[in-house]
């Protein structure tokens, strides 16, 4: 078993390296800006979903309020940049730090809650954040912040002429989120989280500090999501509360992981790779009429996938593999 586990982990690492190399060379072939845009979003959602998966998948604390951290990352970066001229790179880290601190602060009361009470509390706290930002005049209130264009530069992380730098940053973020997950899977924390998810009482009795494990997962997860939010803000060059902190985002972050396979290493990447292009394509090809047909198609697909594959698309792969093994 141990040998298999180690071999599987080595194999995962190799697959990831190959996929990264393929993804990194994609811009050589894909010159279409529209498709590049979809690729950037796909990578970003893969990264976000991977981060969400750490807390909700591995540790089992289902959060539908991660839009809060996403928005905090976006707002911290842009407020520091537009009001104080702080470079987005520092803003990103500051946003991540603040989000992690808030996640841990909220963890104290939140992690006492179980099941639905916890999920609703996470939705509610993100909604409070949204309403506060909508009414915070200094931060642009409901109108949001437009980021001044100061010419293309890596220093200011701003690129108007090409999408490629954003593409590579999103790819890097996705790799980092994946690698953190990969590394955590085999760490003390990873084992603790799975124990906490399966049976918190038993884990506690065996000496797992349940509360601290949850806090750790929340902090890592919030930090990475906030960095994603900072990236998104720079990418769009415009943010408003609804577009970075809306409830929709919390669901969009969870969806790839759930469809791909919650609590698995490859689920979020797989889910995002299928879901995001599908969303964008239905939106642009059928959504143009503005009559809701894209919503109908999109919603139907979500219903069908979640009914047909409750353990996510990853379960298809492992099922195929176990069939091959027994043969």
């Amino acid at each position: 078993m141990d040998k298999n586990f180690a071999a599987r982990r080595r194999r995962d690492l190799i697959i990831a390296a190959v996929l990264t190399a393929i993804a990194a060379s994609a811009p050589l072939f894909v010159k279409n800006v529209y498709i590049q845009n979809i690729l950037v979003l796909t990578l970003m959602y893969a990264a976000l979903s991977q981060s969400w998966n750490i807390l909700s998948g591995y540790c089992g604390q289902i959060s539908l309020g991660h839009a809060l951290y996403f928005g905090i990352g976006a707002y911290t970066t842009e407020l520091l940049f537009t009001k104080f001229g702080v470079l987005p790179w520092f803003g990103m880290l500051a946003g991540g730090g603040i989000a992690a601190a808030i996640a841990m602060g909220l963890g104290y009361p939140f992690f006492r809650l179980r099941g639905h009470y916890f999920v609703i509390a996470t939705i509610v706290i993100a909604e409070i954040g949204l309403l506060l930002f909508q009414n915070w005049e200094w931060a642009g209130a409901a109108l949001g912040i437009t980021i001044q264009v100061r010419g293309d530069s890596w220093l200011k992380f701003q690129f108007m002429r090409s999408k490629l730098p954003y593409f590579y940053f999103a790819l890097a973020l996705c790799c980092i989120a994946w690698f953190v997950t990969w590394w955590l899977e085999d760490s003390k924390w990873g084992f603790w989280w799975r124990a906490v998810k399966d049976n918190p009482e038993a884990a506690e009795s065996l000496g797992v500090v349940v509360f601290n494990s949850k806090m750790g997962a929340a902090a890592v997860s919030a930090f990475l999501v906030a960095v994603g939010g900072a990236f998104y803000a720079q990418f769009l060059a415009y943010i408003d509360p609804e577009s970075v902190m809306g409830f929709q985002f919390s669901l969009l972050m969870a969806l790839p992981a759930v469809l791909g396979g919650i609590g698995t290493l490859w689920g979020p990447v797989l889910g995002a790779a299928i879901l995001i292009p599908m969303t964008e394509l239905t939106r642009s090809y059928i959504g143009g009429s503005g009559r809701g047909v894209d919503l109908i198609v999109y919603g139907t697909l979500i219903v069908l996938i979640s009914l047909a594959l409750p353990q996510g698309l990853v379960s298809l792969l492992s099922r195929a593999k176990s069939k091959g093994a027994t043969r």
Partner: protein
């Protein structure tokens, strides 16, 4: 207002609270009910309050069908049951919004002041607009009815037993699907009732449900899962808190008070006020 929130929440209390099935399409049920009463009014000139029973009956059928066609299968999932339910019903909600946009257009619609609209009644010197008053009365009646139904009839007991232990229930000859389909129908019918009344004083548009759905969840959780009385009390508290917050803060922040009270309550009592789960 609180009683109206209560009325929206009571249907959810049945589905979410008593049967322990997550329904993210609850707001869309409400939206459909509001459209139904709008069209009954504009094509057949039936007053929303008179059409309320019709709408409730239609929603009953709709709720039961949704259960039998979709939710039944979502509940079968062995792994990640919670997430499967959340995203199946979320997908359903998106489909319903899309359908509403397609057939009803995204326009805002409203029902002109009807039979009872616009008038006010004074009770002991307090003036109340009539639709709200009717809404409040219907809400109280619905709660009382549901409470008696759950605690005094065989069906209510069957419902609770089915949630507790579907296997054992099957052994004594109760068909789980029939019980739950009926429960979903009943939950949807109550939302239908709420929608018909609310159609009188709210704009109707495809996304209208979303704004009320979250408050309904908070109401049910505040009162505590598994308790009909809790949802009723939750509704009243939510209404009061909203009114008080509206006095102190700008109107755009009025929901913050509701959310803050929810957090405060569950931090002190993690099972909600009257919850048993």
């Amino acid at each position: 207002m609180g009683l109206l929130y209560g009325l929206i929440a009571v249907g959810l209390a049945l589905i979410f609270g008593l049967m322990d099935v997550t329904n993210f399409a609850h707001g869309e049920f409400l939206m459909i009910a509001m459209y139904a009463s709008f069209f009954l009014f504009s094509y057949f000139a039936i007053d929303p309050l008179l059409s309320a029973p019709l709408v409730a009956a239609a929603l009953f059928v709709f709720g039961a069908i949704v259960y039998l066609l979709i939710v039944r299968f979502a509940m079968r999932a062995k792994a990640n049951a919670g997430m499967v339910q959340i995203f199946t019903t979320f997908g359903l909600a998106i489909v319903m919004r899309g359908l509403a946009q397609l057939f009803f257009t995204p326009d805002y619609r409203s029902i002109p002041p009807s039979l009872i609209g616009g008038k006010t009644v004074s009770i002991a010197g307090i003036f109340l607009p009539e639709p709200q008053l009717v809404g409040a009365l219907v809400s109280i009646a619905a709660f009382a009815g549901l409470y008696l139904f759950i605690h005094r009839t065989d069906f209510g007991r069957a419902l609770e037993a089915t949630r507790e232990d579907p296997g054992a229930v099957a052994l004594v000859g109760i068909d789980k699907n029939r019980v739950f389909a009926f429960g979903w129908g009943l939950g949807a019918a109550l939302v239908g009732l709420a929608g018909a009344i609310m159609a009188v004083f709210f704009y109707i548009y495809p996304d209208v449900g979303a704004s009320f759905a979250l408050i309904a969840y908070v109401t049910v959780a505040l009162g505590g899962f598994g308790s009909v009385f809790g949802a009723f009390a939750g509704g009243i508290i939510v209404g009061l808190v909203e009114a008080v917050t509206a006095l102190m803060l700008p109107p755009s922040l009025k929901s913050v008070g509701i959310y803050a009270v929810y957090l405060l309550v569950v931090f002190i009592r993690p099972r909600g006020l009257f919850g048993s789960m």
